[in-house]
Each structure stands twice: as structure tokens, then as C-alpha cells.
Symmetry: C2
Subunit: 327 residues, 2 copies
Amino acid sequence: MNKIHLCTLAVLTSLSFSSLAKDCDANLLPSWKDSDSKTAIVNFVEQSTDSSKATFIPVSDRIAVFDNDGTLWSEKPIYFQIAFALDQIKALAKTHPEWKTQEPFKSVIENDLEKVFAGGKESLLQIMKVTHSGMTVEEYQQSVEQWLAAAKDKRFGKAYNDLTFKPMREMLTYLQENNFKTYIVSGGGVDFMRVWAPEAYNIPEEQIIGSALKYEYSFNDGQPKVMKLGELLTLDDKEVKVENIQYIIGKKPVLAVGNSDGDQAMMQWATSQPNSMAMIVHHTDEAREWKYDRQSDVGRLDKALDEANERDNWQLIDMKNDWCAVY
Amino acid sequence: MNKIHLCTLAVLTSLSFSSLAKDCDANLLPSWKDSDSKTAIVNFVEQSTDSSKATFIPVSDRIAVFDNDGTLWSEKPIYFQIAFALDQIKALAKTHPEWKTQEPFKSVIENDLEKVFAGGKESLLQIMKVTHSGMTVEEYQQSVEQWLAAAKDKRFGKAYNDLTFKPMREMLTYLQENNFKTYIVSGGGVDFMRVWAPEAYNIPEEQIIGSALKYEYSFNDGQPKVMKLGELLTLDDKEVKVENIQYIIGKKPVLAVGNSDGDQAMMQWATSQPNSMAMIVHHTDEAREWKYDRQSDVGRLDKALDEANERDNWQLIDMKNDWCAVY
């Protein structure tokens, strides 16, 4: 009911501009108002799939890459994977009495997040290492699954995997129905995302690219296992996103969607060819989600916002004005 | 004509055992004689795709991984990618007069392969670095394409990409028709394979995993490019094959096919679950291809051969006796 109410409000608000142009009841992409963003998506798909047009893209080249945090689900007030790590520290604290006096664990246990984040990258790395390595991939993913089943986002009171964006899920479905191979290319951990993203987005494990710690295989007397080591394999952000796309996909995507400067490189890479498009989810909706861009530490959108304003095939998605529903 | 002749010969040779059991005219996998290998493939596919059986595998889990060198195409007398590198050195020698006196280039130019290989890994690395880095991925792949169009294997007088194994191509097609996602997981270079393997095997670029040099993305004033650096990113062999499968695919394959001890780890990994299978291409045919196993430097099959003899769901493919045609 809440969604319908908000949508109605949004439609009423926009009546002064154009009542017809903001239809929320369409069959196609129903959570998108009739807006430049929706038009851009539909035009892009139609021109890519019409074999009579010069803009046609063969199925094998229909590669679309999506950032995850802030693009397909929320990333505020902190990345959800960090929320997982902090909760894990608290759960593990029982068997680590020494953490009561040892930073950054002490501050985590005392819920003093300001102090945790004041410790910078080094603190976060320690927290990530303790909660993300020294176990098999399977064990790690079980802990993520258990956490997801129990944890709730404080602001919305929802499970974290219920905070994916409905309009973006519709966009993914629309692309998939038109034979686009949809990929996630995210700074988030690949093992973390593979637990819930396949179901949330209909994107299989093998189409999820992300940050990773090194893996170590051992045969172990007929009980082979893959351990997660405490050393970084790849931090999938900025230029590295392009390098990982080259290494893992081996093709230049025709569509790249992100929400921050961390996605600018892959958007530049994708749109350095004809018939391509980049889209940016602009967080403009403090009532229904969050509002941030140039000044935000998490998901900063500054240089890519300038570039979007300059380039014809870079389309900004205005969350507040373009979406009938958020979640 | 040659293939038919060889096949007839093979059938005649095997008449003393069973004339009916060696039929080469089947509709299914026609280049496979009726043999334990063929039976194993057909049984595996049938039990995996029959939803009424406990052995049924959902489509999303039908991941099959194949080594390339020695499994899907030949690898003798030297890996074909090494043949490419040596030919490139000769082509580049015109603009590198200093190589006339500088090893290992001098020996390459003088066709003294024994001396080149006597230099060991260090020599080979120098050759690979010069021919595989310092250029964009696009430039590199164009050079591979040009080489493939012109170069011929000395023994068979065929283009290298015509030396893929016909029975294995049939096996790939059969799996693909039954909704298996077929992957290459090879020690060969991923950028090298992506030039020709998609057409040869109907396996798209994004389902090819291999060794790689590091990549470097730069924006370059609106002309973004990805360079191949002279530093190793991954040597996709042995345990690393499993680690890369975990990182890139994120699922345990249900079928792993290889031909050497370098594939043993991924075969162990795949078959550490029910309803899985490993297969090994055993090079037993010196007349039609090559004959080697335990003593070979390239494609050594020793420990994995022992394991195949011990395990029920590890199936040896006897190239000489199981295949009607090789290429």
C-alpha cells in the first residue's frame, strides 16, 4: 500500500508538468514513469534487437554490466556487506575475549561506528579479514545466508535483500527477455553477492564479478576444499572493473549501468563504441531512499555526473522523479 | 576421404573383438565408436537431464569444464601458442637487429628449438613477454588472427585451428544441446583462445578461462584502451584451475574433462559430489595423432592416469580405439 501511495503522490506532484507523461501503470517497466530514462532504456533495447536496423547488436554481443551497491540495491548508511562484517564481529566476540580491549574490534562491539570508521582502511581491512577469510567458501557463504535470514536494515525494517530496487529488477528482466546477458560488476565481494543475487536479479553465479580474496585449493585426502585466504585477489573498482571485464568476459559491454565515480571507467569503456549506452542511478530521493552525490564518502558521484551531463549516450536516472516505486 | 578411410581401417582392425560394438555411423556422437567412453557420455547426459531421476541436475548447475591443449586440440610437438610466439619472434626480428646476437631470440631465429628449450622457463618467459605484452588486447588478437590464417602445422599440413578433435566437438555440441554450459579451463592464454575457440567449439568468449598477463586500463583522452602488461596475472594450471573456477564461475562443475596431470585437481574438485564425472583423453594413437602419457614433458599424464584406473566415475578416452576420426 505504501508504494502505491507514494506513487500516487508522485504522479499528483508532477501533474503540473504533464499528467500523461508520468503514467505508472504501463505494461512495460511498470515502476518507471514515462521519462527520459525509460525512453532511453526502451529505445536502446528496440534499436539493439531490430535486425533491420544498422544499430542491431547480435545476441552474442549483448553484454550489459551493472554495478550493485547503489545501482541495484541501497548502499546507505553503510555498505550492507560492512553491516554483515560488523554483525559477524559481534557474533564471533564470544570466542574472542581479547577483542574487548583490542581495536578496531572493541569499538565494533561497543557499537561506536564513528570510532571504527575513524580507523580508516586499515581498521576495515582487519574487520574484513577476520570475517571473510580463514574458512572455506562454503562455510563463508553459509554465514552470509544465516545473517541475511535474520538481519534487518534499521531504517526500513526490511531484510537487506529486500532492499533491491524494483525498477532496476524490471530493467534486468526486460534486458534478459531481449537476450542480453546481464552481469554484475561490483566492488562488493563476489562470494557475498553469489549467496543472494542469483535469486534477487535472476543473474547466475557465473555472471557475477566482484572483489575477492585469494583462494587456495587443497585436495585434503579426498575431501577437496577451497579456502578463502586473508590476501586481496582483486578490488573490483574504477579501472580494475574494466580490467576484470576484459579478463573474465573478454568482450566490451554495450551497456554499463552504475551510480558512482567507481563506475565511470567501465561506462567510458562500454560507450567507446557505436550503439552503446551508459546509465547512472542518481540518488535524489531522501524520502523513499537516500539523497547524495558529489559530497558522499560512500558512492560519490562527481566526475561521472559531469560526464553524464556532457554526453548524449550517458543517461541519468533521477530516482525521485523517474521511479514509481523504489523497493 | 582420408577420415573415412582411417575409420574403415579402425573398424576392420577391431572386427576380431566385436563388429557391432564399434559402429561408426551412429546419429549420436558419430565419430565415437560404441565404447565405454561413448556409453559414459550418453549415460551421464541422460541421467543428468531426466527430471524423474535422483541423478537429475538442474540446468543452472550443468557446468562442464574442458581443458584445451591435448583435450580439445593437439598439443604436439609443441603447444600451438608457443608455435605462434616463435613465429612472431621471427616476424619481429626485422625491427630488432639486436636479437641476432641475443638469446633466446638468436636461437629462435636460427630455428634451433633444442637450444631455445634448453634455456628453460626463463627463455620461454622472455619469448612470451615480447610477443604477448606491450600492446592492446585488440592488437594482440589481430596478430593471432593473422598468424592462424597463414600458419600450418608441419606434420599434418593443416591450419592449427583445423586440428581440433572432431569427437570432442561432437561431445561439446551434445552437451550444449542438453543445456550444459560448456567452459574451457586451460593453461593456454585466454586472449589467444578467444580469437578462434568461440567459432571452433561454439563456446563464447566469456566461457573461456585461461592463463593471463595483467591488464592495464587507461582512458587516454576519450580513446580508452586495455594494454597487456609483461607481468603474469594467473597461470591457469593444476590447483589454480580450481581456484579460477571458484573465482570466475562460482560453482562446482559436474563434468571435468582433461588429458594431463594439470587437470587432475579440477577433476578431483568436480567429482567430489554425487552425479559427477571426469574424463581423460588418453593419447594412444601415434598413427592418427600422437602417443604419449607418463614420460611426456608436454601433457604428462601419470598421477591422473593412476587415479582414473581407481575411480568409477573417471573415464579414460582411448583415442586409438574409441574414435572413428580424430580431426
